[in-house]
């Protein structure tokens, strides 16, 4: 209990004594303990105060002399003027009161949203004391507007979207955050069945492709893939933005030749016999981020406890989803009409990675989709490098600063630890995309190294 004693009590010692140092005997300590406050909030506050006092007065004698001279309340006020005790206490209040328990979280019906969706039927939100309505939304522009309107408290977004919103590209600049990545991998390039012999990207000149949104990993990965094969994504092919649910219908109608899309769209195209899976995106960049759990900075700062509870639910769900043995159960929970509205087998093939490829083969790729919530700053920097490469943002960008502000790696690491995951110790790492290494410390040199670019 030594962390819980009142550090503003001049008569107590913070470092020695009985088990807490305030009593002469263990019995007296026990007797006092019974009457001691059990309010966790007050105890929490004391821990913070004690820590601050200990830091300010390493020698107990000095602290006592100081307190005796000025009195406890004056001391507290004096310290509060130069050290934000209130903020520190708030930050420590881990199980503080929820500011709001009924929340609305928007999602697009794709498997990237798995942790957000499954938390509802599988009770991860309820366990945190939250009553969350997950609301299916028609498209990315609508989900963005509804979140900016505060109709949604938080939402499923493409991971480049919060960066774009923060930078003010394609929207008014509003500080946005990514407290967790929803999923890694899990996308694919699907082509119409009539192109089943055109496996070489060089023969794709004149193709019409669909991606879910301009500010999406899908757009950047498709452009990257095409450019690496010598096709200029702006001149040799046409890339248009089509909401995922409409992609298969468009592929079927011959409106497009293929798409780089989230699942279940790819698998659904195979299921309906209209397309085949050309390549999984994990073969372009193994472990790339895709969708994000996004919230406005306002929500994060104004409702810290609710934000924390919500994020914890997402983290627990992500941890659960990252285990392959749980995937079948998840597929069954999220396939019904209230969520993804797809045949269970389609979702199961996506999540388990044992799937029909549309050409008559059954492929087994257990990490076709995977779940790792850590928002690496280097992911954000890569995304910004591609935004700049394709002319979506101009001028000088402070990559590291934006990455730090939008991708909340510290919060994610803390909560990952709590739910039993092992977060990495750094926030930046090198990785390679199609065999080419990306160094997050030198994004501008990376952009300059490409032959096809719009800068």
């Amino acid at each position: 209990m030594s962390a819980f004693k009142d550090p503003f009590d001049a008569d107590s010692s913070l470092t020695s004594g009985c088990s807490c140092g305030r009593h002469h005997s263990a019995a007296a300590h026990q007797a006092d303990l019974a009457g001691e406050t059990s309010d966790s909030e007050i105890l929490g506050n004391r821990v913070v105060e004690a820590a601050v006092m200990r830091a300010l007065f390493p020698h107990d004698a000095t602290r006592r002399r100081f307190l005796n001279a000025v009195g406890a309340s004056t001391a507290m006020a004096a310290i509060a003027t130069f050290f934000p005790l209130g903020t520190a206490k708030e930050a420590f209040a881990q199980s503080g009161k929820l500011e709001k328990t009924s929340l609305k979280v928007g999602f697009i019906p794709i498997t990237c949203a798995t942790p957000i969706i499954m938390s509802q039927p599988m009770g991860f939100y309820a366990r945190q004391g939250l009553n969350v309505d997950v609301v299916k939304t028609a498209g990315w522009a609508v989900i963005r507007d509804k979140t900016l309107n505060k109709e949604y408290d938080a939402a499923h977004m493409l991971s480049p979207m919060p960066i774009a919103i923060t930078l003010g590209a394609g929207a008014n600049a509003i500080p946005y955050t990514v407290p967790a990545i929803e999923n890694i991998n899990g996308q694919a390039i699907t082509l119409a069945i009539k192109h089943k012999d055109k496996r070489d990207p060089k023969s794709w000149k004149g193709f019409k492709f669909a991606v879910p949104f301009d500010y999406s990993m899908h757009n950047y990965l498709l452009r990257y893939y095409l450019a690496e094969h010598g096709l200029d994504p702006d001149k040799d092919v046409q890339i248009r933005s089509v909401p995922p649910p409409e992609m298969v219908a468009n592929l079927r109608a011959d409106n497009i030749d293929g798409f780089l899309a989230p699942d279940p769209v790819n698998q659904r195209a195979v299921y309906d016999g209209v397309g085949y899976i050309h390549t999984l995106t994990k073969d372009i960049w193994a472990g790339h981020p895709c969708c994000a759990f996004a919230a406005s900075r306002e929500f994060v700062t104004k409702m810290p406890n609710t934000y924390r509870a919500l994020l914890k639910a997402i983290m627990e769900a992500t941890a659960f989803a990252s285990k392959p043995e749980n995937r079948k159960q998840i597929a069954e929970a999220i396939a019904p009409a209230n969520y993804l509205n797809q045949p269970v087998t389609v979702i199961e093939q996506v999540l388990t990675g044992t799937f029909a490829d549309g050409l008559g083969n059954v492929r087994k790729e257990p990490n076709r989709i995977d779940f790792d919530p850590f928002p690496w700053h280097s992911f954000a920097i890569w995304i910004m490098s591609q935004m700049k490469r394709w002319g979506q943002i101009k001028g000088n960008v402070d990559y590291a600063k934006v990455a730090r502000e939008v991708f909340l790696a510290t919060d994610a690491a803390k909560l990952m630890k709590e739910v039993g995951m092992r977060p990495p110790t750094t926030t930046s790492k090198k990785f390679s995309v199609m065999g080419k290494e990306f160094d997050p410390a030198k994004p501008d040199a990376y952009i300059a190294s490409f032959a096809i670019k719009r800068t």
């Binding site: 299916k136 939304t137 498209g139 649910p245 299921y271 009409a337 549309g358 008559g360």
Partner: protein, 280 residues
């Protein structure tokens, strides 16, 4: 002879219906295919894809079965994103009525004003002509941005699309009230307000009602598209959600329901129109 004619039309209707269903049935008969794949693969894909085809258009029997299924349970509620077709239709009708009535509240008084004063008519005409042909859905992004609420935005879209026909018809009806009637009212020294309510309104009522009937038709057309765009609730969202699932049977069911409700709304307005028409 007249009795013969009485049953002739329904019989013809029935024959057309049967022919349509018959043709539909024949066109959607399952095709036989030689191509076979291994059973492990076949288990992972749809029935048509397993034989090397694209998934087929549903047959009349499939759609009929789906309709029965929906009729058996029209008001189920399995969470915010999965509600029965009856509830969805209810949401759409409610939205249409709110937007439509708000539009009537604005359009009829303003139309009156425009119709009664040639100056106001000429002053406002350019605006009306520019605003009238704008597709109501084009207002949607603007509405979402400014009103900051998707359900109010949907109502606003209904409001804006039902406004113009009512406004123009009211103005036209009021402007074309016979001069003689107005002159008679003037000779009898009837006050302006009384003239408006006792002479002009009854005279213009049939034209106004025609405008209202056109408006409700347009409003019902637009609500489906608007709800497909914003999602959430309503029959438009239902169609979008089933499109997402590529479920043509559900979409056909919804199309039928949309048609029937649209017809009912139109019939109601037609009845009201008949109430205010007068023989000359």
């Amino acid at each position: 002879m007249s009795r013969l004619l009485n049953w002739r039309a329904p019989a013809l209707s029935l024959i057309v219906f049967l022919l349509m269903i018959g043709a539909w049935h024949v066109l959607t008969l399952p095709k036989l295919s030689q191509q076979t794949v291994n059973p492990e693969y076949a288990a992972l894909v749809g029935a048509e894809a397993a034989t090397g085809q694209k998934s087929a258009f549903p047959s009349p029997a499939d759609v009929g079965g789906k309709i029965v299924e929906h009729l058996r349970e029209p008001f189920y509620d399995r969470g915010p994103n999965d509600k029965g077709i009856g509830i969805q239709l209810g949401y759409s009708v409610a939205r249409v009525l709110v937007g439509y009535l708000l539009a009537a509240l604005v359009a009829i008084p303003v139309g009156f004003l425009i119709g009664m004063s040639p100056t106001v008519y000429r002053a406002l005409d350019p605006y009306i002509q520019v605003l009238k042909p704008i597709s109501p859905l084009a207002w949607m992004p603007l509405a979402l941005f400014t009103l900051k609420d998707s359900s109010i935005s949907a109502i606003f879209v209904i409001f804006i699309c039902s406004l113009w026909p009512m406004l123009i018809n009211t103005a036209f009806g009021v402007a074309s009230v016979r001069r003689e009637w107005l002159n008679v009212a003037r000779t009898l020294e009837v006050g302006a307000l009384r003239t408006a309510f006792r002479v002009i309104l009854p005279a213009a009522a049939p034209t106004i009602m025609t405008g209202m009937r056109i408006s409700i038709g347009i409003a019902w057309l637009v609500i489906v598209a608007a709800e497909m765009l914003v999602g959430g609730t309503g029959i438009g969202y239902f169609v979008w959600n089933e499109w997402n699932n590529l479920s043509i049977t559900n979409i056909l069911t919804a199309i039928l329901a949309i048609g029937l409700v649209g017809m009912l709304l139109d019939l109601m307005l037609a009845k009201l129109t008949r109430l205010v028409t007068f023989p000359e």
